[in-house]
Symmetry: C2
């Protein structure tokens, strides 16, 4: 399914679809503009395989159990592979996998397998699996599904899950209505492991859960949204529409590009009666489907970040290693396109320049700006523009260690900058500057602030700064939050080694849910006049060690698959650059968040505390993070905790050289 279209299916009541009316139903749905039809695979009569009255030695039952009996024609609604690309099959719902009766359990499982075999034979593109009522245990159903789904490598498998609970549990707040339904899904999915191919067909109802409960679903594999026709309202013109709340929720799920299913409580009239008064209505496209297409068409246009992010969503990228590796031209190219980041830098330099006193002693008004890590020169351009706006004279040094980027700034100097800019080919940490700077400008931040070694680079560079000189950025703060994302965890799992669970990834989040809002965990300030003697190099890097323990309360239950990291940076005074969701600089796309996975997902009960322990550590050669996630709940104490991840930087680190 492309971004441009939305697939909408018709889902009539299963007990009214039969082998006799299937052809008509398909023709009707095609006429009404549906993209597919949901049909039961088997007729209700197939329930005979429970052999309810048969004794254990009944020959017919024993033969069926032994797989010696094929479907009878009467057992089936879908008897041929005709229209199999237009059909999603539903499995029969009389099975009871967790019955007290061993025969019912066994025959439910054997019937499921017989049905899945038939689905595979027909080549159906998708099936919908039943969801046992909340009163029933799930363990055996979970086991059966986990084992059986491998029978269908090419078929989409959706579990039909209601978004509201059948009834609210005693003692559970009404605002948590719907949480139980997620917990039951979660329990089934956990049995299967996060690599399972099981998807969710989320069934809407008249009332919907609160946003915080719905939010859990954003970390799950939502493949379809089921909209019962009675959820629609009728507008003034007699057309079906959704309530504001339903519209809001449907729009939120659109990013998953789900299939939509319009479920009806009665079978529509399948024959088109050309002579009736409403024959026109009958041949027109379904107004329900039209309405969903309208919502899809009118969804918020992707903003510049979304456009940029297309193709990156939920894709795990290794963070840059700017000291070990030289960035490629295309990397510079990408980041230089950010419309916001350089505006903020320009504003910060401009404000800093305006704040500089004009010499009154007759000395020339020259501000020395050093751009360290100049790359292909964007911060030099910012500084030149800022100087022009502020009406101040500047002498700029552009220091860059990457020989390839240096070629570009040589050209820039020759063609644009001229004498105002001195270009220097050097590592900023070892450069012997000919004079001291008033302003040190750098763009060394990673998604977590300090994760591309901005602290270490600026510590080495700050000796070129005058005692009253300033650094842009002035500081940066790392933020963390417990994160749920089946998708990201499964992708890390797929590497099948510890190393990848102990590595952080830069990711444009899509199918994720934060269990609580991000909190600041540590900060770096520049220049660092406290730990580093004036005009000297730091003797060790211990002052750049950081650690923090943050507690979060998760109002709903949830699964933790790792930690989301962000940064906020004060460039200069009130000029703040942020990727922390609460303060994100609008339209800035240079940084995606960072994801620290954990090896085994942790379940958090509603109301429990999530504790994140984080360390930024260092030795003489590298910097690395270690992390650990644990849970606790009032009245019970500690719950499960993860082991310490990335001990001693054994799996991932950032090289200092």
């Amino acid at each position: 399914m492309s971004f441009e279209t939305v697939q909408i299916g018709l889902m009539p009541p299963a007990d009214q679809v039969s082998a006799d009316n299937l052809q008509q139903l398909v023709a009707y749905a095609q006429t009404k503009g549906f993209d597919y039809v949901v049909s039961p695979i088997n007729s209700p009569g197939y329930r005979r395989v429970l052999f309810e009255d048969a004794g254990p030695q009944s020959p017919a039952m024993m033969a069926w159990r032994a797989g010696q009996e094929a479907f009878k024609p009467d057992d089936l609604v879908l008897r041929t592979a005709d229209h199999s690309d237009f059909l999603v099959g539903t499995l029969s719902d009389w099975q009871d996998f967790d019955s007290q009766d061993a025969k019912v359990r066994l025959h439910s499982e054997l019937a499921l397998r017989q049905q899945l075999n038939w689905v595979s034979h027909l080549g159906l593109g998708g099936i919908m699996l039943p969801y046992p009522p909340a009163s029933q245990p799930l363990a055996n159903y979970g086991r059966v599904l986990t084992g059986a789904l491998s029978m269908l490598p090419y078929t989409a498998c959706w579990l039909k899950v209601p978004c509201m609970d059948e009834e609210l549990e005693q003692g559970v707040a009404e605002e948590l209505q719907g949480m139980k339904s997620w917990e039951r899904w979660n329990s089934l999915r956990n049995m299967a492991g996060s690599e399972s191919k099981l998807g969710v067909a989320l069934e809407f109802s008249g009332a919907l859960p609160t946003d915080q409960v719905l939010d859990r679903w954003f970390a799950e594999p939502i493949k379809a949204i089921i909209l019962p026709d009675d959820v629609f309202l009728t507008n003034n013109k007699g057309y079906p529409v959704l309530s504001k709340r339903h519209q809001h929720v449907v729009r939120k799920f659109l990013k998953f590009k789900p299939y939509f299913l319009i479920s009806t409580s009665t079978l529509p009239k399948l024959t088109i009666d050309e002579f009736s008064d409403d024959s026109l209505d009958q041949i027109l496209a379904s107004p329900h489907a039209d309405y969903i297409r309208y919502l899809h068409r009118t969804q918020e246009q992707p903003n510049v970040i979304d456009q940029f992010a297309t193709g990156y969503q939920d894709f795990l990228q290794a963070p840059l290693q700017p000291l070990q590796d030289n960035l490629e031209s295309s990397t510079y190219e990408t980041f230089e396109k950010d419309p916001i980041k350089y505006q903020l830098y320009e504003l910060a330099v401009e404000k800093a320049l305006r704040d500089r006193p004009v010499p009154t002693d007759g000395q020339p008004d020259i501000t020395v700006i050093m751009v360290v890590g100049a790359g292909r020169g964007p911060l030099v351009n910012c500084s030149l523009r800022a100087a022009e706006k502020a009406g101040r004279n500047v002498r700029i040094y552009a220091v860059e260690k990457n020989p390839n980027a240096f070629v570009t700034i040589q050209n820039m100097k020759a063609q644009h900058w001229g004498d105002r800019v001195n270009i220097v080919f050097s590592d900023m940490r070892t450069w012997k500057a000919p004079e001291q700077a008033d302003i040190l400008v750098s763009e060394l931040l990673g998604s977590f602030g300090d994760n591309e070694l901005s602290p270490e680079c600026l510590d080495g560079a700050q000796k070129v700064l005058k005692p009253d000189g300033i650094s842009i950025p002035a500081n940066y703060t790392a933020f963390v939050a417990p994160l749920s994302s089946t998708k990201l965890h499964a992708d890390v799992s797929n590497f099948k080694d510890l190393k990848h669970f102990e590595t952080s990834y830069v990711v444009m989040f899509k199918a994720v849910s934060l269990l609580a809002q991000p909190k600041p965990i540590w900060v770096f300030e520049h220049p660092n006049r406290i730990d580093i003697p004036m005009d000297q190099d730091p003797l060790s890097n211990h002052h750049n060690i950081r650690s923090g323990t943050m507690e979060f309360t998760s109002k709903t239950s949830g699964m933790i698959h790792g930690v989301a990291g962000y940064f906020e940076s004060v460039l200069y005074k009130d000029v703040v650059m942020s990727i922390n969701p609460a303060t994100h600089s609008p339209g800035m796309f240079s940084w995606f968040p960072i994801y620290f996975p954990i090896q085994t997902p942790l379940f958090v009960p509603a109301g429990a505390q999530v504790v994140l322990d984080f360390w930024r550590l260092t030795d003489t050669r590298k910097v690395w993070y270690e992390w650990r996630v644990s849970c606790q709940v009032a009245g019970v104490g500690a719950l499960q905790s993860s082991p310490l991840h990335n001990v001693g930087g054994r799996s991932s680190s950032i090289g200092l050289f």
Copy 2:
């Protein structure tokens, strides 16, 4: 350390040992018959490296931080490698790894690393690590330990843990005193992962925890027991002895072969004054050490099971595959030595024979006994002895499929059995018997009862049985219990693949703790006249599917590393054979328990429920188990759960052919 000796150390108060008296202390301890001395590595003066009054740019501090300053002689108690094989070093205890003050945290860590480097240089055989008071958080200490222990590949590292809590938490029952101490250890160990080399030196006190709290420690790597001298009482003759309760607990820990440490509150008088009145006392061995040696000498003699088990304890064995593989002669040899098992079989057959009515119609009194899976013939011998005791005539068939074992029973027939026994070379499931049997005797049970396919074999064999014939065994029941064992989990982890986590192992348990008593989960009865038509083979094996969900309450907190499995079998009427701990047949050693691991250990809070879901499943070629462990707690609901293990028998199964 061999089984025959016990190592006992002297542990004087750390602040009274110095470089000046170390030589004397060593000489004293040798005189008093101690095997080693516990000494601080550093003098109290080493605390100087906290640089408490120094500013961040203090040159001395910066040099020390950068590793540019070695120990000064005054810093050290252990200045040379002299006696390093007689010394266990203790680390200084002024460090505060979780201080609010970043400098204290950093310097504590650097000091620890400096000390460990020195330990490695000296080649000390063991060190003792401090245990932070319960009021302090542990996260950073756990991180520091996890990272630092890899510096000491050849040194035993013991964490000194008090067995009682410093103070009882509000709302915690007094009988759970000591649990918090275990939980803090567990928290540290979990950070390091179960593969950590960290051991426990458990410090006893006057009061001791209840057995159920102490039991948790049996699943942990207990390396040493610290006995303060004031824990000893003085008996009538003036000698130090332990209370009954302390004796009981010490004896329980003897199976771990721990080192013992006698800690003293004051430094003993180190010089032997030859002219004093008590000079004899002074040169005699320590009475405290003597007493521990006495307890060790008088520990319960290993019974026949223990003797048999030596070398098997905590050793993971793959269960037998008797249908796929032919047993080796030594396997038969081992199991035939069981003094109890064949007594029970003989008794069962004797009782069954006595219960048989003597024909009154003049027919000859002959009972047909068929021994299926006769191996090298032990059950034939049992049956013959039973017939003699019961005074009944028997005609015995010995059926065996293993050609190698068949050689032995051919000799047995020739030399001992004669015409009373017919020997048949066949798989019992396919044998066409010349007549029908009154009694079918088999020994096909595995540690979990049905795990060596006794149900399938007897289902195939029962067609030779008369309608009123009996099977010995008549039934068998599998038992499960949640199990804690750091050792077993680490051993499975060492294989570094999923397959080994989804395999069951036969293990003679030692370093384990059951979180609750075993419960029966399913049963098999023979002959099975319900599911299998008389005189026929079963058409499928579905009737041998079993499943069960068992709930257990863990009174104390604990870690689940998997599931322990056992069986109980009724051979005939009141003749029961069992390896379930509550009913274990005394002296029987043919079966060790079975261990089903789980991939990620689960933490169980005190009072929580552990739920075990178990399945015995089958297809046409094999039988396998699937399992899953989850936790829940009243008022909170579901906690963490394991994924489903061994889905579809993907990692382990028992072949039917």
